[in-house]
Every structure is written in structure tokens, then in C-alpha cells.
Symmetry: C2
Subunit: 278 residues, 2 copies
């Protein structure tokens, strides 16, 4: 079987995608990775589609040029919603987003194509209609309802992940979902940090529904693509993991334990400029 | 008395500075204005100082070049905290920030130089130490305590300005202030929208303290500079007001009633590129 030692590239608008990187590193412990957080231009969720496409191409080309990646994971729901086609046309390597795996995981969780499915995401992801579209493309015939939940991002970054405030915020967002939803997709990479409190609020408002996190599903999808295309790395007990940011390594360092599951110092995070070639 | 028909320029990282523009238009109804919201790069509060200076110079030069402004109001606490000196060195016109007026209004509110004063702001404003420094420069000898309150921004933008969630969030931030503070400065232009609920929470936690909003004080300062330098516009019942954004006129239009006090349609908001000359 062929091997490919090049790293998997992962990018997000900021630190949120570290939750996807964490799931990838857990599923594929031999693979080197390189992560780019475009922290100088975060957040993407409020930007126009044209701007998001431009930023996504900047980030992707930077990872190809600087790190010679073999596969790109778009660990950002906003970018996956509006820029996946542009990235696939532009890049010579496979591109995996987070929306298709999240939609597939939701359908697997409900087990029926006509079940009601809810999605919580940024304003941009909701506006794009990407989750309902991805669900319909996989045969979903039930009602898909997407609700913007922008307060979850600062709650996650502040570390306010339990107690009254996040519970009340979650309850208020979940009120907007139909009573018969059976699964709620966390459609933003920040939200897994709030999964326990969202599950608590969901048990009150929608007792039949379960929370679906697409990060693990994304790791499954990446594994499948690597295997199909003969891109798996050789067995390695110490693969290299690099972290790039476009601003403020200190902020990523501060949030690394909560989002990546391990402490990283600012000195281990490389501050770079992205290629403004798009 | 000489007159100057050129507009007053106002910029902010996004829509928050519209609360300052609103105070200016109320205090100076004859003055034409031009507002630039750098919505493509918002928020500045989490960016490094070097990045904020670069963005501020881009915005200021754009207003000078495109709109021939006679005075610049930096309606952004983050920029006022770190970039005012760079702007004053770079521009041939007077520059007024929001921190000095806010500090002066707080001292006027407490009436004593040794009173405890609290400040709520973004992480960047708090980290800069700009409010304690501005207070000390005006003779304040008491304790000044600044607390980062990042959740207030999405609460204001979501329109969640009353009820349990903002009250609990405010109470939690105010807990971090010493018991003897006598004034709390709203050190971010988004926070005036939450002033009623912050005042309610403050009455519980710090019954002797009052809320200070620097926007009105900024308008007083601008009036003084215009008068001193002979820059007042001639009397005009219909001065021109222009709004620029660097991304998503729709978002500013949606928030215009809450932040500016009147409805503006997206068609009335000009989408521009800023001068990348810094």
C-alpha cells in the first residue's frame, strides 16, 4: 500500500476548528497535521459570500505553498457552506468540509429520512441554507430548521460553558426549533464546548432529540478519502503538528486547552501572513 | 466667524460607533458627517496592537481621501486605546477619541479624585490599560478597575437588551468590580444599548454607583475643538450624512434603528474598499 508523508491541512477562521483538529488527531494518530487559524480576519460568519470565498482561497493556497499538504479539511461551517466548490476547483488535492459529514451523522442519528432535524449555526451558515441542502441531497424528506446561535461563540471563548447563562441562552435558541425535531446538529465548531449544556436544555425542550457533533464524522470522512486515494502516512509515533495563525498567537495559546484538549504555548504557534493571491 | 463645510469623519471597526454618530448628530445638527464601519475586518477587540494601528490608518486615510473630512472622530474604544498617537502623527486634521471624554465624564460623575471607578470594555481595551491611564492623567488617585465584557457585543447585535440573559451576564461582569466603585464607564460603543439592564444589575450589586456613557461627552469634546479651530459648518437644515462599510451593507441597515436611532436602507449605505496604504 502506498504512503504519503505530507501533512493534512486544516483551516478555520479562528480557533474553533481546533475541535475538528482534535477529532482528526484522535482518529488518525499517525498523520502529521498543519492548522491555520485566520485570526486576523475572524469571524467569517458575518461576512458576505464573496469575501468568505476570497479568504478561503488565500488560506488554502497558503497551506499548499507553505506546508505542501496532501488533503485540505475546511474546519469552518461558514466556509464549508459557501466556498467548497471554489476550493475544489482551485486546488489539486482532495477537500473535505464539515457540513456534509454533519448532515450524514444527523441522518444516522435519527434513523429515518422523514424525521425533523434542527441545526444551530452562525448567521452566515444559516443564511446559506447549506445544512438543509446537504440533508436533502442525502435523501432527507423531513423538515430541516436552522437557527442562528451567535452567542455560543463568545460563551465558548470566555469559558462560560456551564451554569445559568449558557443554559438560558441555549434554551432560548432551542425554543425556535419545531417540537418534533429528533436531532440537533452543532453546526459551528465552537459549539462542541457547550454540548453538555445544550444537551441539558434540549432534554427540557425536546426530550426525544439528541445532539449531533460533526467533528467525529468529519474524521471518518477524512480517513475514507485517505484510504481511497492511497494517501495514508506511514506509521509514526511522533508525527509533526504545526499551528499557524495570522494574528495573536497568545489568544490561541490561551484557548488551546479548551478547544484542542492540550496546552500549547504561544512560542509553539507560528505567526504568518496568508497569500493574498485570490 | 469662519466656517468650514467639510464633513466630520467618524470611523469604527463596525456598527457600534453609530451610537457615537447619533450623539454627534444630536449635539451638532448642522454638521455634515461621513461614517465608515470597517465591517470586513470587525472586530478589532481581539487583534494585536500593530494590526489595529494598521487598520486605523487605512480607515482614516480613506476618509480623508474620499470625503475630505475636517476632523476625525475615532468612535472605537480599541482604536482610541492603541492608535490615537499614530493617527495624530499621520493626519493633518484634529483627531478625537472616545476614551479621554469617557474618563472626563466619569470623573465629573463621581465628583472626587479618589473615588473608585470601574470600566467595562473589550478584551483589547482592558488589556491596553487606556482608561486607568486616561483617568490618572486627569488627576484621578482612586482605584480604577477595568473588566472585559465581550458578551455584551453579540447581545446588543442580537437585540437581547432586556430580560434574564443580559441581566445575569451584566451581574456576572459587575461582580468583578470592587464594592466601592461609584461610577462604571461603558467603554465600548455597543454597550449603551444595554445601559438600562446594566443600570438595573448595578443597582443590585453597587447601589451607590452610576453608569457613565462617553458618547455624549465625546460630542461635547468635538464641539469644543470645532469652535477653537473655526471649523463649524454654516447653519444648514439638511446637512448630508454618508455611511460607508467595507462589507455587508445589509447588516448595518438591519442594526441602524437600534444603534443610530433611525432606519437606513442597505441602498443608502456605500460599500467601499479602504486604502491599503499603511
Amino acid at each position: 500500500m502506498p504512503h504519503d508523508q505530507r501533512p493534512i491541512g486544516v483551516f478555520d477562521s479562528g480557533v474553533g476548528g481546533l475541535t475538528v483538529l482534535r477529532a482528526l488527531q484522535a482518529a488518525l494518530p499517525d498523520e502529521p497535521t498543519v492548522y491555520l487559524g485566520d485570526t486576523a480576519r475572524v469571524p467569517y460568519g458575518t461576512r458576505s459570500a464573496a469575501t468568505v470565498v476570497r479568504y478561503a482561497l488565500n488560506n488554502a493556497r497558503t497551506l499548499v505553498k507553505r506546508a505542501d499538504i496532501k488533503l485540505l479539511v475546511v474546519a469552518c461551517n461558514t466556509v464549508s457552506a459557501v466556498a467548497l466548490d471554489a476550493l475544489r476547483q482551485d486546488l489539486p488535492i482532495p477537500v473535505v468540509g464539515v457540513i456534509e459529514p454533519g448532515a450524514r451523522a444527523a441522518l444516522a442519528a435519527v434513523g429515518r429520512v422523514d424525521a425533523g432535524i434542527g441545526v444551530l449555526g452562525t448567521a452566515g451558515t444559516v443564511r446559506s441554507g447549506a445544512y438543509p441542502r446537504a440533508l436533502a441531497q442525502r435523501g432527507h424528506t423531513g423538515v430541516a430548521t436552522a437557527v442562528a446561535a451567535p452567542l455560543f461563540v463568545p460563551l465558548a471563548e470566555e469559558g462560560w460553558t456551564d451554569g445559568d447563562v449558557p443554559r438560558l441562552v441555549a434554551a432560548r435558541y432551542l425554543q425556535a426549533l419545531p417540537a418534533d425535531v429528533e436531532a440537533v446538529v452543532l453546526g459551528c465548531t465552537h459549539y462542541p464546548l457547550l454540548a453538555p449544556v445544550i444537551a441539558l436544555a434540549l432534554a427540557e425542550s425536546h426530550p426525544r432529540a439528541r445532539v449531533v457533533d460533526g467533528a467525529a464524522a468529519t474524521a471518518v470522512d477524512v480517513t475514507r478519502v485517505l484510504d481511497e486515494q492511497g494517501l495514508r502516512a506511514p506509521s509514526d509515533t511522533h508525527p509533526t503538528h504545526r499551528l499557524f495563525v495570522t494574528d495573536s498567537p497568545e489568544q490561541m495559546a490561551r484557548l488551546s486547552r479548551a478547544f484542542l484538549g492540550r496546552e500549547v504555548s504561544a512560542a509553539q504557534i507560528e505567526l504568518i501572513d496568508v497569500e493574498m493571491t485570490a
